[in-house]
């Protein structure tokens, strides 16, 4: 990535790893949840056991719901923060102290516009993925793990 150093503190999030966590975190969390919950359930039931490493299967699957859900919530919080920090000024344009007159005038606004869009996309996608994880969690309360 070749994002320039941005001078302004409030833009510290932009282009950084944290923003990417915000954008992709929910998706990643759900992927981990789906694969872990599904494969643990499948494998344990196929082996005819109702425990994994001494813990009841139900609790293990519960963890594959709770931990990813927590990660998705964290990603959601990051995108909320990024969304608020990238708010444009009153004229609808992004200005920073460096902007006026510099040869790179406009490039900061550029990065802010992109970051704000990513933040919005992440905000919505984290909500979406969190919902899927929670729905999966509801199912663990309703079905006994190995019922066919």
């Amino acid at each position: 990535m070749t994002t320039d150093r941005l001078p302004d503190r409030r833009t510290g999030l932009i282009g950084g790893l944290l923003l990417w966590f915000g954008v992709l975190g929910g998706a990643l969390a759900w992927t981990v949840h789906a694969l872990a919950a599904w494969s643990i359930d499948e494998l344990a039931c196929a082996a005819g056991s109702s425990e994994v490493a001494g813990m009841p299967l139900r609790y293990v699957i519960g963890m594959t719901v709770l931990i990813p859900a927590a990660a998705a919530v964290a990603a959601l919080a990051v995108t909320c923060l990024a969304w608020r920090r990238t708010e444009p000024g009153r004229a609808g344009r992004w200005r920073t102290s460096q902007d006026a007159g510099s040869p790179r005038a406009g490039t900061v606004g550029h990065a802010l516009g992109r970051a704000r869009m990513l933040a919005l996309v992440g905000l919505a996608s984290n909500l979406l993925f969190l919902t899927i994880i929670v729905l999966g969690g509801v199912a663990t309360l309703v079905f006994p793990p190995c019922q066919r």
């Binding site: 990535m1 282009g15 990065a111 516009g113 992109r114 869009m117 996309v121 066919r148």
Partner: protein, 635 residues
């Protein structure tokens, strides 16, 4: 091959002439085989995929004719099996994906303001491989050796005991062969869209169609290995006696289904996603306003491409997996309607807020919306496991996925054909012919596939070559067959319309519809170098934005003219900041030779001629060495 014009010393040519000389596409036989121009390659993809569509369509007409009445004798059971397998396989792999890749090839560099794809020779290679793989598969049909295990070829029906002969070898090898082309194309799209965007086209200014092609390409890269693995294992099982899918020797039959659907479900979106991108490209031109809620549409594209990977097991509700693990897939399967719905609402709002201009491409978009919504609706019904159990492998399923695939791919593709025909050929089409085609297709499509819901609910299973009288299926089948004839006439009218446009069409203006993306800023058809000056982008709608037009007007800096060589601009991935000019390759025969080597490899494998296969491999390897050998530095 382009040549540098010899010029008298001191008399520098105008940049335009210099560019033309540098990017010249001579009309020679050799140039026909060696071209690496993304526009010519894109056109070839479109034409070739259309031919395969025609073949698959003729197969479908034969199937429907056989099913028109009970106890018909047009096709034998063996012929029926091969025809529906080839129909399904070809529609998915040889028509839908390559057709959309064809549009991607033609349009992505134009839309992002570049002069070619990132790897033009790889692009040419991908086309030749696609062509050869398609011919490889279709050639098996007249020989009576075509795949006969359906498009998803479930093991154990397809192992060497239950399916002797070459049929399934053609399927496994053909798809592996084709996969090389699709993978190469996907990598090329990703790099092109990330690195060659015109300066200023930051992520929030990338056209939705390009987003869709990139998301699709990522899906291809993640999904296709599962299919390749599946086919590789099946080939080994059949030819070399391994037991990956053989439960008697510790193998697992469900393994095929898991791997197949890990590929297969995303594949539905691999097909539909670029089509959704087409819709988002067509609408603004005919609504006279930008697409509403751009970031949310991007969200739809990105999140659908992710979710579609997590729901493969919804094709396997009938296989006796635990309820709980199925529920993880159920949740995601139904939630995918949210991002799809988001896109739908963005389109509807755009139409509501804009001033609609009713032309043929818009008609096809509306046809798409209607059909796709019906297909999505019956799809949501499957997420109810109980209903799914009831209709699995009945004609209800056939009806549902044709609504999704025909609605989700064919209508948008036809919209795209009419929308970009002026740009691709430089000719306008006849609106009257196009409207006739639309209505015949729309009516024919519904008359063909709607009755299948009913025959399915009344218990008609899919993949039967005939059925006895008096089960209540007869009228619906007859109706469906009549519908398919109407549909065929409509599709033929599209061909007539294109030929008519090429022969008689009025010359097209550069921007006949008033579109907002950069391809409309070039001539129709575009010059080999696409843009005399590479634009600088200032908004999501560069063509509607005076600052972008200014950036290519007189006095544009040399850094964006690049008339010195065969060059385009490299920019940064996120914000598209200018990095440096990069050299594009000249045309070359090597892509064709390499693809021929591959054809020999796969032909050799098919017929057990392993020495021939090795020879093909050697040819491929030598060509690759020459291809990758660093060129001598000019001094």
């Amino acid at each position: 091959m382009s040549t540098v014009a010899e010029l008298p010393a001191g008399a520098g040519p105008a940049p335009a002439e210099q560019l033309a000389a540098r990017w010249e596409e001579p009309r020679t036989v050799r140039a026909w085989f060696t071209t690496v121009d993304h526009k010519r390659i894109g056109r070839r993809y479109l034409v070739t995929a259309s031919v395969f569509f025609g073949l698959a369509g003729v197969s479908a007409i034969l199937l429907r004719t056989q099913l028109a009445g009970p106890e018909a004798g047009l096709l034998s059971p063996q012929e029926y099996n091969q025809l529906f397998s080839m129909h399904g396989t070809a529609m998915i792999f040889l028509f839908a994906t390559p057709m959309l890749f064809g549009f991607g090839n033609f349009l992505v560099p134009l839309m992002i303001g570049a002069r070619d794809m990132a790897f033009p020779r790889l692009n040419a290679f991908g086309y030749w491989v696609f062509l050869f793989a398609g011919v490889f598969m279709w050639a098996s049909l007249p020989a009576g050796a075509a795949p006969n295990g359906g498009w998803f070829a479930y093991v154990p029906l397809t192992d060497e005991v239950n399916s002797p002969g070459l049929h399934l070898d053609v399927y496994t090898l053909g798809l592996l062969f084709l996969g090389i082309s699709t993978t190469a194309g996907a990598i090329n799209f990703i790099v092109t869209a990330l690195k060659l965007r015109a300066p200023g086209m930051s992520l929030n200014r990338v056209p939705i169609f390009v987003w869709a092609i990139v998301a699709t390409s990522f899906m291809v890269l993640f999904a296709l290995p599962a299919l390749n693995l599946d086919n590789g294992l099946l080939f080994l099982d059949r030819r070399f006696g391994t037991h990956f899918f053989d439960p008697e020797a510790g193998g697992n039959v469900l393994l095929w289904q898991h791997l197949f659907w890990i590929f297969g479900h995303p594949d539905v979106y691999i097909i539909v996603m670029p089509a959704l991108g087409i819709v988002s490209a067509v609408l603004p031109a005919f609504c006279r306003r930008g697409l509403v809620a751009y970031p949310l549409v991007v969200l739809g594209v990105v999140s659908i491409s992710i979710i579609s990977f997590g729901v493969w097991a919804h094709h396997m509700f009938a296989t006796g997996l635990p309820q709980l693990s199925l529920s993880f897939f159920s949740a995601a399967s139904s939630i995918i309607t949210i991002p799809s719905g988001l896109q739908l609402f963005a389109w509807l709002t755009t139409m509501l807020l804009g001033r609609l201009v009713m032309r043929a491409p818009l008609l096809f978009v509306i046809g798409f919306i209607v059909t796709f919504v019906i297909g999505g609706f019956t799809g949501a019904m499957f997420a109810l496991t109980a209903f799914d159990q009831q209709v699995t492998d009945s004609y209800f399923v056939v009806a549902h996925f044709h609504y999704v695939l025909f609605g989700g791919a064919v209508f948008p593709i036809l919209a795209a054909v009419y929308f970009w025909l002026p740009k691709i050929t430089g000719r306008m089409f006849s609106e009257r012919l196009a409207r006739w085609a639309f209505w015949l297709i729309f009516i024919g499509m519904n008359v063909t596939f709607f009755p299948m819901h009913l025959s399915g609910l009344f218990g008609m299973p899919r993949r039967v070559y005939t059925y006895p009288e008096g089960l209540g299926w007869d009228p619906w089948n007859l109706l469906a067959t009549l519908g398919s004839y109407i549909l065929a006439v409509g599709l033929l009218l599209v061909v007539v319309g294109v030929v008519h446009a090429l022969r008689r069409g009025k010359p097209a203006a550069d921007d006949p519809w008033g579109g907002d993306t950069l391809e409309w800023a070039t001539t129709s058809p575009p010059a080999p170098y696409n843009f005399p000056v590479l634009p600088e982008v200032h908004s999501l709608h560069p063509v509607w934005d005076p600052r972008t037009a200014e950036s290519v007007a007189a006095g544009a800096p040399e850094a964006r003219t690049l008339a010195e060589g065969r060059q385009t601009i490299r920019t940064s991935e996120l914000d598209a900041r200018y990095e440096q000019p990069i050299e594009m390759p000249e045309s070359s025969l090597r892509p064709l030779v390499a693809a021929t080597g591959l054809l020999v490899v796969f032909g050799g494998l098919l017929f057990d001629w392993y020495w021939v296969a090795a020879g093909g491999g050697l040819l491929l390897a030598l060509t690759m060495v020459g291809w990758l050998w660093p060129p001598a530095e000019p001094t």
